[in-house]
Amino acid sequence: MSGFFKPPRRIHVYNQIVLTTSGILPKIKGGAFLIEDRAPDEIFTAEDLTEQHLAIARTVDEFWAKEVEPNLPAILDQTPGAALAVLKRAAPLGLTAISIPEKFGGMELDLASEVIATEHLGRDGSYAGWHSGHTGIGTLPVLYFGTEEQKQRYLPKLANMEMLAAYALTEPQAGSDALAARTRADLAPDGKAYLLNGQKMWITSGGAADLFTVFAKVGGEKFTAFLVERSFGVQSGTEEQKMGLKGSSTTALYFDNVRVPVENVLGEIGRGHIIALNVLNIGRLKLAAAAVGKAKVVLAASLKYAKERKAFGSAIGEFGAIQHKLAEMAIRIFAAESIAWRLVGQIEGHLENFSWDQPDASQTMLKAVEEFAAECSMVKVFGSEMLDYVVDEGVQIHGGYGYHHDYAVERAYRDARINRIFEGTNEINRLVIAGMLLKRAARGQLPLIPAVQKVMAEVLSGPGSTDGPDDDSRLVSSAKKIALLMIGLAYQRYQDALEKQQEVVMHIADIVTETFAMESVLLRSRKLAARGKETIARDICPVFLRDAMARVEISARHVLGACSEGDALRTNMTILRRLARYEPADDVMLCRKIAGRLLARERL
């Protein structure tokens, strides 16, 4: 036996592969963070990644340095075949097959492995579009919804890059309202195939993919997914001239009586929306991870520039104005990273002893992800908006050079913008966040209503526990109470018509998301402190919690204004002010400390 003490390990068995995480991950319910408190050891953080996960991250980094970076100019110029050639070199390493079961030629690793690879591939959006588009929304529909025969036919080719996969949902007249698709599928007279007619738009890898998951309406009515090979007769439009992601392929697709064998119906006829929504859930988590990866690269470049660039006789990194920007970038990245890995842990908590050999493996995996559909939308919204903030400040720190093509931050700025649009716009995702929580409450999956009633009774009875010490825990506790109160008041006011009050719903989504981030940052910070690690988290936490609470309060005011009036409004405002009250931290000093550490390390 080794003489080293090892903490208790929870072992995740994926068909005999074992990737371990320290601590115990409880099996919790989606949205439960609003009504339950967790201990620091009950959440998964980036620091819990195992040696095996770090090995995958380092392997991706090496692949990036040796294969992607030297070819990036050709990829960005859309030199024909350049990106695909690099992607094909990722296949022998298994980097195109992390989630695919071994029996279909994959690596069969856990979700954390897929997410860490995504984060490290996220450093350039164009290549990430090719790679993650293939391994994510390209491959996952077959993996999750394919029949055994479909999996055997396609997954080995997708793992080995014999085929490049893409996902075709959006149409010229059907974007956020995907179910309004006009592409139709009609059974051919011989009954052996469907004839697809219509058009898709904004299809990632549309110019090069060999296999598409295409959504069409059978008989013009039943929304259904099909696995469509390019060789069946799919035609691609010309490459779109986009604001960013210049090196990724984005085209329209045209279907003119494309004959698709009936065996290539994916899932059930009329149930295509199940595929569309579930694949997007994982896509949203991966988008958040990629955003964290990209933001870290931009922060590192900004730190380097701030140390090198001189103004008024000093490096600009010595000025408080720049230090504040650097610190704020790091704070938001830290928060986005905290919620993304917490979500990974929550999903993994539902996958103990999971194996792709189990007969209902796909269903188990889908249920684990679907449980956290609201959280998937939260990390997407928070991650993409964090990235936009970081690239914007990155350009600002670079000054005029940040506006020039020769500087990577200029490209990062343009590339980042699409993240708020694809994988469901952030507006749609905000509606999903609140909608899913209410739906789960209505189905009895989340005891939200008793929790709302309890908080309402508590706050109406007087100051109560909120008069306690103004510490970080109270801020998180108060944010939860505010979130529950706003949900309760909005529901009281509008009841089943609440979903039509989109402005109110979006404010509630923002409150809920900030609350999730606040608790995640606090727990991660405490977890690191308990491990005796002197980290930047100690300074990040108090700044983030107070800034987030300020944002929560503003959103809550909007909700109150829309949902109450007169004496009720005044009473509610009194309660809100009491809950949202906090002593300011010395964030000038804290941000200087954070920036000082960042500048010394040149990374988060």
Binding site: M1, S2, Q16, I17, V18, L19, T20, T50, E51, Q52, L54, A55, I56, A57, R58, T59, D61, E62, F63, K66, P92, L93, G94, A97, E102, G105, G106, M107, E108, L109
Partner: protein, 121 residues
């Protein structure tokens, strides 16, 4: 395709390196400590050995020395996996008979290139 012996006591590391090797088309068998590694090498005569150095019982250095000192296994290339990055540790691995090494967490792209280099030579 080569036959590769992986000597690694950590279950997760063993499984991960195995997945990478299998995906590259190699056949893999295992040992979990130095003594059984020496025995497995003799019984299986693999084309290559991937050896963790920090093994329980007989460590990887001693196992490498024994594999090298036996004429039946002396020709087998050994790639060491080590958490130790100090140059003296690397030197120690080479003196024990290891032909190459990789530090943990393993960069699999580099490891696979080294393996291919030995297998193809």
């Amino acid at each position: 395709m080569a036959v590769i012996l992986v000597v690694e006591d950590d279950e997760a590391n063993q499984e991960l390196v195995t997945r990478f090797l299998r995906r590259a088309g190699h056949r893999v068998f295992h040992a979990t400590d130095g003594m059984s590694g020496v025995r497995a090498a003799l019984e299986g005569i693999p084309d290559l050995i991937v050896m963790d150095l920090g093994l329980p019982g007989m460590d990887g250095w001693e196992a490498a020395r024994r594999i090298r000192s036996n004429p039946a296994t002396a020709h087998i290339p050994i790639i060491a996996l080590t958490a130790h990055t100090l140059s003296e540790d690397v030197q120690k691995a080479r003196q024990a008979g290891c032909d190459a090494y990789e530090t943990k967490p393993v960069v699999y792209q580099r490891l696979m290139q080294k393996i291919e280099g030995f297998v193809n030579s």
